[in-house]
């Protein structure tokens, strides 16, 4: 057994940290925080120039070799720094799905641009009425000659207002719930598509998108007609190392920073309190467990094993642990925890307050905790449905 990230991992980590130090300026971080948009063209271009976007892609596509474990080390650093890479992650997720399920022309047009960070692809899966039950999608695509005409709406399409394409799950048949679905890569810049901002409790901006006779050429159908559920499965399958261990580290460091500097009535720093220590100790332990579960799933993927239950375990545990820790450390800080990012006296720039808000989405998106527990119960433990 070996719990280190190895020399290669250390080198990658150092590389990413150096990159972030240079490019994730206070001004950029502040802008992302203020706009709630976790994408920045210049930042992504810089990532490309630094060779970070190409990590893990096959060399034939301009990639730079990196195993899933290495990728998860990189992800941890980006996530801990709250780098604006959400757009990159959705773009690359779709590009990987196209690598597996697309045709040659689709691959040639999309993958190189995705690897270079030249396009932004957003996700159009869930709908206002279907939540976790993605296969209940009702947005409809109807064939019209060489094109498809799309009508309906999609919820939580983050970055839709700045994206180039929507990776859209649409209903093309009525035969059965799962077999009547098809996936398209729809150009976002057309009059039939409207993105309306949806603001969230963490300040992040997402969108509801409306499709009114939007059009996509059949050339941009990904996979077979009726094969959308499989394509979607491939796309989601590729997300091995989803987790929030790094977000916990970010939170922990904020609480530690507070504990070392804030002083109680006695004048001693709060970190000398046994109660404060207990709670920081618990958060540190659960952050460690989160990272271990994430890295294990990545290591399995590196060995060609699909982490069927282990991926959900990492996502489930780390998001629930983050939620618990945010509540607990928010309490720990006392009344000052209330101060928001913009309040002058906010401890550590209001990071604990922000973690509380941010944590709420983590147990929802990418499959709710309930969905993850169901997968673990059935596929990990073999329990009956």
């Amino acid at each position: 057994m070996d719990f280190g990230i190895g020399e290669r991992g250390q080198a990658l980590r150092a590389e990413v940290r150096a990159f972030l130090k240079e490019h994730l300026t206070d001004e950029l971080a502040e802008r992302c925080h203020r706009t709630g948009v976790a994408h920045d063209d210049a930042f992504v271009r810089a990532m490309h120039e630094a060779g970070l976007l190409a990590l893990g892609w096959p060399e034939e596509w301009g990639g730079r070799p990196c195993d899933p474990l290495g990728l998860s080390v990189v992800e941890e650093e980006l996530s801990k720094a709250e780098a604006p890479t959400y757009g990159v992650s959705t773009t690359h997720m779709v590009a990987r799905a196209i690598l597996r399920c697309g045709n040659d022309r689709q691959r040639a047009e999309i993958i190189p641009r995705a690897v270079r960070g030249e396009i932004l692809i957003v996700l159009g899966f869930t709908e206002p009425e279907c939540g976790s039950d993605l296969a209940a999608a009702r947005t409809r695509a109807v064939r019209d000659g060489d094109e498809w005409v799309i009508n309906g709406s999609k919820m939580f399409t983050t970055n839709a207002h700045i994206g180039d394409y929507v990776f859209l799950l649409a209903r093309t048949g009525t035969t059965s719930k799962h077999e009547g679905l098809t996936v398209f890569l729809v150009p976002a810049d057309q009059p039939g598509i409207e993105a309306q901002a949806v603001r969230t409790i963490s300040g992040e901006r997402t969108n509801i998108t409306y499709y009114r006779d939007a059009r996509v050429h059949d050339d941009w159908r990904i996979g077979d007609v009726g094969g959308g559920w499989r394509v979607l499965g491939e796309a989601l399958q590729e997300e091995h190392s989803v987790g929030f261990g790094a977000s916990m580290l970010r939170l922990l460091e904020a609480a530690e920073g507070w504990a070392r500097t804030a002083r109680g009535n006695s004048g001693r720093p709060r970190i000398t309190d046994p109660d404060v220590r207990e709670r920081l100790g618990r958060c540190a332990a659960e952050a460690e467990v989160s990272l271990l579960l994430q890295r294990r799933a990545a290591a399995m993927a590196g060995q060609g094993v699909v982490p069927v239950a282990e991926g959900p375990m990492a996502k489930l545990f780390s998001s629930e642990a983050l939620t618990r820790a945010a509540e607990d450390l928010f309490d720990l800080l006392g009344p000052d925890a209330l101060r928001g990012h913009l309040s002058p006296g906010a401890p550590e720039g209001g990071r604990v307050e922000h973690a509380l808000r941010f944590s709420l989405g983590t147990t929802i998106y990418g499959g709710t905790s309930e969905i993850q527990r169901g997968i673990i119960a059935r596929r990990g433990l073999g329990l009956p449905r």
Binding site: E129, N265, L338, L360, T368
Partner: protein
């Protein structure tokens, strides 16, 4: 044992339910953000006697019981009414308790609606009363400063603090115009009782928040469908809401018991108020989290009301004490004969 409100209490609840139902719908609560104060509503409830009810007839008030105040606070919590009722009531009661001419005149101004008076729930440090509830909208603030109870005019500069719960909080610098209202053990005792009352009424507000959060969650999961069924039919949802509904009932009973003890078993009041605060806070926190979570992605969008409840459940409590500290405070009263060895920092210790 009789847990039913009297007819008079029922009318009180009905009238404030009607008042806030009209004047504090979620749209108004949102519109009052980020300051968290609705001047028109404050004028309305003040005219309705919200401050006067809190003090005795001898002091110019109506002499309502703490139980009545708790009932109103629960209704306020249900509607998240953005007005400093608890703050003004507790401050008025504190002024009445002091029995000095200056306190009496400050109270008279509060009762007349000339000045909004609030109190700092933590002693000042280094000349600043921090995170004063309603400090950003009050005219006068009662502050405990090194054993002296001060009346501090807030002046024009309110030093408002942006915060999670959209509360009108302010950091208040104690200026030269601060007046000493009282000092010594009598001042400390009066202030401690005010803190107990603040905890009690905040507990009641948390009960209202929690109860409404459960209702919102139940309404949503009955109507929302996934996998061909209403999601409220899933045990993972139904059982969690059942636990929260149970905790809400328990928190309500405990809060009203504490309010009842104020007059009937005064020796238990401070202990029960701290317990009620801790338990109601935990209950509201869990109920709002669950209800928000069961909304799926909608829960954390600004559009849905549940996030308003989620944020206030935490903020209205955090401005006072976290639950662990409140349980310690309850124990301090319960075991008052035994002094603590090492008082925790930032805790209201009574020992």
């Amino acid at each position: 044992m009789d847990v039913a409100p009297s007819d008079e209490q029922r009318r009180l609840v009905e009238s404030f339910t009607a008042l806030f139902g009209d004047a504090s719908p979620p749209s108004r609560v949102r519109a009052a953000e980020p300051l968290g104060f609705d001047p028109a509503l404050w004028e309305t409830v003040r005219s309705a006697g919200i401050v006067a009810m809190a003090v005795g007839e001898a002091d110019g008030g109506w002499g309502a019981e703490p139980l009545d105040l708790a009932l109103v606070a629960e209704v306020q919590g249900r509607f998240l009414a953005p007005v400093p009722i608890v703050e003004a009531q507790v401050a008025a009661r504190l002024l009445a308790r002091l029995r000095t001419p200056r306190a009496a005149s400050a109270l008279a101004a509060a009762l007349a609606g000339e000045r909004t008076v609030t109190m700092a729930v933590h002693p000042s440090r280094e000349g600043v009363a921090r995170l004063v509830p309603a400090g950003a909208v009050a005219d006068d603030v009662l502050v405990m400063d090194g054993g002296r109870l001060l009346l501090v005019p807030s002046g024009g500069d309110h030093g408002q603090v942006e915060n999670l719960g959209a509360m009108p909080l302010a950091d208040l610098r104690l200026g030269p115009d601060a007046e000493v209202l009282a000092d010594g053990p009598g001042a400390e005792a009066a202030y401690e009782t005010a803190l107990d009352e603040f905890l009690l009424l905040t507990a009641a507000a948390q009960v209202g928040i929690a109860a409404r959060a459960v209702e919102i969650g139940v309404g949503y999961v009955k109507q929302r469908r996934a996998f061909g069924v209403p999601i409220g039919s899933f045990q993972s949802i139904g059982h969690a809401l059942a636990d929260s509904a149970t905790a809400v009932d328990g928190a309500r009973l405990l809060t009203y018991e504490a309010a009842w003890a104020h007059g009937t078993e005064p020796g238990r009041f401070a202990e029960l108020a701290a317990m009620a605060f801790a338990f109601a806070t935990e209950t509201a926190r869990e109920a709002t989290y669950r209800s928000l979570h069961f909304h799926g992605g909608y829960g954390f969008t600004d559009e849905y009301d549940i996030q308003l409840y989620y944020r206030r459940a935490r903020a209205w409590a955090a401005v006072c004490l976290e639950p662990r500290a409140a349980y310690r405070r309850a124990a301090d009263h319960r075991y008052s004969a035994v002094r603590t060895a090492a008082p925790m920092e930032e805790q209201w210790t009574s020992a």
